[in-house]
């Protein structure tokens, strides 16, 4: 049981890092942004490239996050913001277009072959119940907890969180009350893309590989998680990320590869939505 829990929670932490940004964005703008998963790949590639040039991995990670923040700011300013009045489907498909183009750009720039990211994270590690737990997994566990508690605190107890909630509730009223909505949106995108890039670097170290298509599966799964958590509910998103991560690893541990993981995730999603059409935690329930 224990190995499954460790694995599930570490994977869940990655999903949470990736899905939190789009969830916050959805809360504000009511649009789904798949291109966030491209930030995961971009972060990993920038990180691994700098690492291969001799920089420490955490510096590579920071640079990857910075690069992804720039991507996020550019996308929201020049693509999403002008499209907000066009309805969510336009934005969704446009973000898919960005994702397709970027994946192919990664393939052209960094070649289709996998790159290694051999880093040993200097954190306590060892073997628990016969299953090895690596330093990066410990780091992922820590970050998962930090993100969970951090988001809860920031959203519920800071001015920033208040601004986000006010804007998510009613953009126009927030604007009238003096909230600079554009700045809030830009800030959320920056934060979301940075977290996705961090997830990408951790993912790359955890599995010691960076490939152009490493964002594919996380992209779909991120959507499922956001919906499962109750659209636009960041705490629900984080909860759903851990639920999906744990469900996958428990199924994997006890039943083996019975069905493709994505299929499991989506079957669970469809079943839950048919019973609870507004997701696990509908809006309002967990707004602090």
């Amino acid at each position: 049981m224990f190995p499954a829990l460790v694995d599930g929670i570490t994977v869940g932490a990655l999903y949470a890092l990736l899905a939190l940004g789009p969830s916050l964005v959805y809360g504000l703008l009511r649009v789904l942004d798949i291109a966030n998963a491209a930030a995961l790949v971009l972060g990993a590639y920038i990180g691994v490239t700098l690492f291969q040039h001799g920089l420490p991995w955490w510096l590579g990670a920071l640079a990857g996050m910075a690069g992804s923040v720039i991507l996020g700011l550019l996308l929201q300013r020049f693509l999403y913001r002008p499209l907000l009045d066009q309805g969510p489907l336009v934005v969704l498909v446009a973000s898919i277009g960005v994702f397709i183009a970027m994946e192919e750009a990664f393939r052209l720039i960094w070649k289709p072959y996998p790159r290694q990211f051999p880093v040993t994270v200097p954190l306590p590690h060892g073997t628990i119940a016969g299953t090895p737990v690596t330093g990066v997994q410990v780091l992922m566990l820590i970050l998962g907890v930090v993100v969970l508690l951090g988001s809860w605190w920031v959203l519920g107890h800071t001015r920033l969180g208040f601004t986000w909630r006010a804007t998510a509730q009613d953009r126009e009223t927030a604007r009238a009350m003096g909230v600079n909505v554009n700045r809030v949106v830009a800030g959320i995108f920056a934060a979301g893309y940075a977290l996705a890039a961090l997830a990408g670097v951790l993912f790359a170290i955890r599995y010691n590989t960076v490939t152009p298509d490493m964002g594919d599966v996380p992209a779909y799964k991120m959507l499922a998680i956001i919906v499962l958590g109750g659209l636009g509910n960041p705490m629900g998103t984080i909860l759903a990320a851990f639920v999906i991560g744990l469900a996958e690893s428990i199924v994997n541990t006890y039943w083996g590869f019975i069905l493709p993981r994505d299929t499991i995730a989506f079957l669970v999603l469809i079943a839950i939505l048919l019973i609870r059409p507004a997701g696990l935690l509908p809006k309002g329930l967990t707004r602090a």
Binding site: R107, P114, P132, T211, D216, P260
Partner: protein
């Protein structure tokens, strides 16, 4: 009324645009053989038609994924194809005719293979085709080549439907069940494993090998404890390994590609296990697996076609020339692609028309290629000994060979 008519007019305009874009498609794609420098200059006349075997040149078609998710293997294949054409042309060509390679990117998409195959047969009028692509595209192209009577050699795709298409479609790669049987021989006879756990990719390749493996393992008196079929991109093999070890497995049969193989072996090493592992040609990729991750696989034996330690001058020359041209060692995909062209050369002794080449390939016997000896084609699948290689200190070395006729004849 007016508005309805306006709509109809726009629809007409759309149809007209359709026509224009299709014509544009035709006009612009005549230059696509430009990737091959030697044929770049003649490419503009490429769509002019004319018999493939006319004059001093012969057109050979080639398609592979250069974009999309399969691009990494596609690049290996295209590199080898261009090297093969260069070598053949320097060496007298096909029955005295210089090969003009007409190559297309199929974009990892079977629909594109349909239009490429049609283009190769009707516009480029190639005499033969080599597929450097995956099963989906190779299958889609095969039936068109069969109908046109143009022989096609699939370099590394192993879907049983490919040679099953008809008498013009051949498979250079080892038959899937045969490679599976050879894996069983290696794991049970050579490495002595008796209780085996199978971990395999769930696609046509994985299923074909697993079937052959199970048949032969049964014959050899070994027990298959479990079979786990995973998807592309699976990363977490820990639980499957733990379960198999708990059940008493003393050997793993690993039918995975580079990415999944890396994750399996990482989990395996982390557990400090000593079980024997036999892998397959799926991980025989220089840039995707051997160079970056060879050390993970130390001690693992795998079934493939390319004997790196071969003393055959042909193989040695291939290994050397490929590394010189592309600054990395060739892999199984490259080797079988190269040999597909060499088979064409061998088959061209009695003529270079499409039907001559088809007959030549059908009747080929004891062909010596860089992947060793292809004894013959049985039901259009190559019959040849299966090479066993082993990882030592991160590099690949010859381990043995499975040449029992009962195993290698499909």
């Amino acid at each position: 009324m007016n508005r309805a008519r306006a709509g109809r007019m726009v629809a007409v305009a759309a149809v007209a645009l359709m026509g224009i874009s299709v014509v544009a498609a035709c006009g612009s794609s005549g230059t696509t053989s430009g990737n091959q420098p030697s044929s770049g200059s003649s490419a503009s006349g490429g769509s002019g038609g004319g018999a493939g075997a006319s004059g001093g040149t012969i057109k050979i078609g080639f398609f592979s994924p250069q974009s999309g998710i399969e691009a990494s293997d596609g690049k290996s294949a295209l590199d080898a194809a261009q090297l093969a054409v260069k070598d053949i042309n320097a060496n007298g060509g096909l029955d005295g005719k210089q090969i003009e390679l007409v190559q297309y990117d199929d974009g990892s998409d079977p629909k594109q293979a349909v239009s490429i195959a049609t283009k190769l047969t009707t516009q480029d009028k190639v005499a033969a085709v080599v597929s450097g692509s995956y099963s989906d595209q190779t299958l889609a192209g095969a039936s068109i080549f069969q109908r046109a009577g143009v022989p096609m050699l699939a370099a590394y795709a192993v879907n049983p439907g490919i040679p099953g298409t008809g008498d013009a479609i051949f498979q250079i790669a080892t038959s899937g069940p045969v490679e599976g049987k050879a894996g069983a021989v290696a794991l049970t006879k050579d490495l002595g494993a008796k209780k085996i756990a199978i971990v395999a990719i769930d696609n046509d390749f994985g299923n074909a090998l697993v079937k052959g493996f199970k048949d032969e393992a049964g014959t050899l008196g070994a027990t298959v404890l479990s079979t786990s079929m995973n998807q592309f991109g699976e990363k977490d093999f820990g639980p499957v390994i733990d379960k198999a070890v708990a059940a008493g497995a003393d050997g793993f049969y690993l039918v995975e590609y580079a990415a999944e193989g890396q994750q399996f072996l990482t989990a395996f090493r982390q557990r400090n296990l000593t079980q024997k592992i036999v892998g397959t040609e799926g991980i025989d990729s220089t840039q995707q697996f051997i160079e970056p991750n060879g050390k993970l696989a130390d001690g693992m034996v795998f079934t493939t076609v390319l004997n790196r330690d071969s003393t055959d001058p042909k193989t040695q020359a291939f290994l050397k020339n490929f590394a010189a041209a592309y600054s990395h060692a060739p892999d199984m995909v490259g080797a079988t692609t190269y040999d597909a062209f060499m088979v064409l050369q061998a088959a061209s002794k009695s003529g270079t028309s499409a039907s001559d080449l088809k007959t030549g390939i059908t009747n080929l016997s004891n062909f010596q290629g860089v992947t060793g000896t292809i004894e013959k084609f049985t039901n259009r699948v190559s019959v040849h000994p299966v090479d066993l290689e082993v990882f030592k200190d991160g590099t690949v070395h010859h381990y043995g060979v499975v040449d029992d006729p009962n195993v290698i004849n499909p």
